[in-house]
C-alpha cells in the first residue's frame, strides 16, 4: 500500500507516493535522485546519511519517508546557490578537509545546522555537533579547522 505525502526538499514542494517501509534516505536517493546523501551503515552509526529536517540534522536511514510528511528537508545539493559554493563548502576546499568525500555532505550539513544557530561556535561545540558523523579517512582535524574558519568568517561579516 502506498501513501501520498507532501514535503519540501531543497525549497521545492513535492507530492510523492511512498511505501511505508521506504526510508527518507531511499526517497531522496531513489525517487528524487539526490545522491549527495550517502548510505553507509544504514543503522545510525556512521552518520553519512545526515540531512536537515526543519533545520536539524537527522539520520535519514532511520527516518521513514512517511514521517517527512509536511516537513522541510535540506540536502547537500541545496547549499550551492547561483553557482556560488556555500562558505562551508568553500572552506572545506580551502582547508583540504576532504579525502574520500563520503562523509563530507553529512559533515557540512551538521556544521551548517550549528553555524546557523551559533555562527561563532568554538572547537568544542563543533566537535559535539559533528560527533554523529564518522570520517574513516581520519580527516577530523582539517574538517574542524574548515568549520572554524567558515564560522569565523561568517561571524565577522555579521559584525560589519
Amino acid at each position: 500500500m502506498k501513501f501520498l505525502i507532501d514535503l519540501t526538499v531543497n525549497d521545492e514542494a513535492y507530492q510523492l507516493e511512498v511505501e511505508p517501509q521506504t526510508t527518507l534516505l531511499e526517497l531522496l536517493r531513489n525517487q528524487l535522485h539526490l545522491t549527495g546523501t550517502k548510505e553507509g551503515c544504514g543503522l545510525g552509526d556512521c552518520g553519512a546519511c545526515i540531512v536537515l529536517v526543519e533545520g536539524k540534522p537527522v539520520n535519514s536511514c532511520l527516518m521513514l519517508a512517511v514521517d517527512a510528511k509536511g516537513r522541510e528537508v535540506v540536502t547537500i545539493e541545496a547549499l550551492e546557490t547561483n553557482g556560488q559554493l556555500h562558505p562551508l563548502q568553500q572552506s572545506f576546499l580551502e582547508k583540504g578537509a576532504v579525502q574520500c568525500g563520503f562523509c563530507t555532505p553529512a559533515m557540512i550539513l551538521s556544521a551548517k545546522s550549528l553555524l546557523d544557530k551559533s555562527p561563532r561556535a568554538g572547537e568544542m561545540e563543533i566537535k559535539e555537533a559533528l560527533s554523529g558523523v564518522l570520517c574513516r579517512c581520519g580527516s577530523y582535524k582539517k574538517i574542524i579547522a574548515a568549520v572554524l574558519a567558515a564560522g569565523g568568517e561568517k561571524g565577522e561579516r555579521n559584525e560589519e
Partner: protein, 311 residues
C-alpha cells in the same frame, strides 16, 4: 572467474532495506490502542524509530504492523507547573529535553543525561517514550528519571493509569505494559530545596557510545546540619533492567556525608549490581566501575545540593 569483491559473511549481514509491513497513523490514543490489540503481538509502536528501525533491519524483531504515534496531537509537550512538577510528553525528543530551558533550570540532571545519549542527529529523532518503552538495561535516561521519582502516565483499553517509572521494566527489552497500553507522558515531581542530582556515565569513548555503567544519585541535605535527609541511587547497564540501589541509599541516610559513608555506599551499590560480561566490558570490571562511578556521582550530587544551600 575469481570474485574480486569481498563478500560480507552471512552471519554479519544486515538488511539495509526494511521488509514491508502494515502501517497505521492513528489520530487518537484510543485508536492507537485498538489497532495494537487488533494487530496482535507483532504490532509495534513507532516513536523516534532510532532503535526500532535498526532492530528491524538487523532482523532482530519480527514485525507485521507499525503504529506511528506522531499523528496524535499534544504528545510532545514539556510543561512545568511550579507547584507540582514537570510533565513531559512521551514523544518529546531527546534533544528537546536536552535543550529545554525549563528542564535545564529545574532538573539539570535530566538535561545532562539527555545530552549524553547517542549523537546529535540521533537525539533529534529519538524520544523519551521510546527510550523508556524500549526497556533497554543501558538507558541513559532511566537512572536520572528514577532518582527524580518520575511517574509514568499510561493510556490503554482500561483507561488511564499512573505508576512509578521503575515498575515498567520487567526484563531486557520487555515492559510490564499490557496489550494496547501506550506511555503518554512522564511526570517528574518538583525537586525539593537543598537537593542535588548527578548522572555519571562510563563509556569507552566520548560520543556515540552505549553506557558500560550509568549511575544517577540524588541527595537532599538538611539545611541546618548538612546531614543526608534523602538519598536515591539508580544504576543502568549493570543489571537486566535499570535498578535502584536501595542498600547503598540506606548507607547514606540520616547522618553526615562522611568519606567513610560514601565509600560504604559505593561498595553496597557494586554488590547490588548484577552486570554481565560482553564485548564492551567484563562483569568484574563493571562491578568495580559501579563503585567508582557511584562515589563520583555522590560527590557531584553533594556539591550540587550544597550550591542549593547557598542560594
Amino acid at each position: 572467474m575469481t570474485n574480486l569483491y569481498y563478500e560480507y559473511p552471512e552471519s554479519l549481514s544486515v538488511m539495509k532495506r526494511l521488509k514491508p509491513f502494515a502501517y497505521f497513523e492513528p489520530a487518537t490514543l484510543a485508536e492507537a490502542s485498538k489497532i495494537l490489540i487488533d494487530q496482535g503481538s507483532r504490532a509495534y509502536l513507532l516513536a523516534g524509530g532510532t532503535d526500532l528501525l535498526v532492530r528491524m533491519k538487523r532482523g532482530e524483531i519480527d514485525l507485521s504492523a507499525l503504529v506511528n504515534l506522531k499523528g496524535i496531537d499534544g504528545m510532545n509537550r514539556i510543561e512545568l507547573d511550579a507547584e507540582t512538577g514537570l510533565q513531559i510528553g512521551a514523544l518529546t525528543t531527546i534533544s528537546s529535553l536536552e535543550q529545554s530551558s525549563l528542564v535545564r533550570s529545574a532538573y539539570p540532571v535530566l538535561a545532562e543525561a539527555a545530552g549524553i545519549l547517542g549523537s546529535p542527529p540521533i537525539r533529534n529523532l529519538a524520544t523519551l517514550g521510546g527510550n523508556i518503552g524500549r526497556a533497554s538495561p543501558a538507558s541513559d535516561l532511566a537512572p536520572a528519571l528514577m532518582v527524580l521519582m518520575t511517574r509514568l502516565l499510561i493510556d490503554g483499553p482500561e483507561g488511564k493509569k499512573e505508576f512509578p517509572l521503575e515498575s515498567i521494566f520487567s526484563r531486557p527489552g520487555k515492559t510490564t505494559l499490557n496489550p494496547g497500553e501506550v506511555i503518554t507522558s512522564f511526570f517528574v515531581p518538583k525537586m525539593v530545596v537543598h537537593s542535588g542530582a548527578a548522572y555519571v556515565r562510563l563509556g569507552r569513548r566520548g560520543g556515540m557510545d552505549c553506557a558500560l555503567v550509568g549511575v544517577a544519585v540524588l541527595l537532599n541535605l538538611s539545611a541546618k546540619s548538612g546531614d543526608v535527609a534523602e538519598a536515591r541511587i539508580a544504576l543502568a547497564s549493570v543489571a537486566p533492567v535499570p535498578i535502584r540501589a536501595r542498600k547503598a541509599e540506606a548507607e547514606l541516610l540520616s547522618g553526615p556525608l562522611t568519606e567513610e559513608r560514601i565509600q560504604k555506599a559505593a561498595t553496597a551499590a557494586a554488590l547490588e549490581s548484577m552486570p554481565i560480561s560482553d564485548m564492551r566490558a567484563s562483569a568484574s570490571y563493571r562491578k568495580e566501575m559501579v563503585k567508582v562511578s557511584t562515589r563520583r556521582a555522590i560527590e557531584q550530587a553533594r556539591t550540587l545540593a550544597g550550591e542549593g544551600n547557598n542560594k
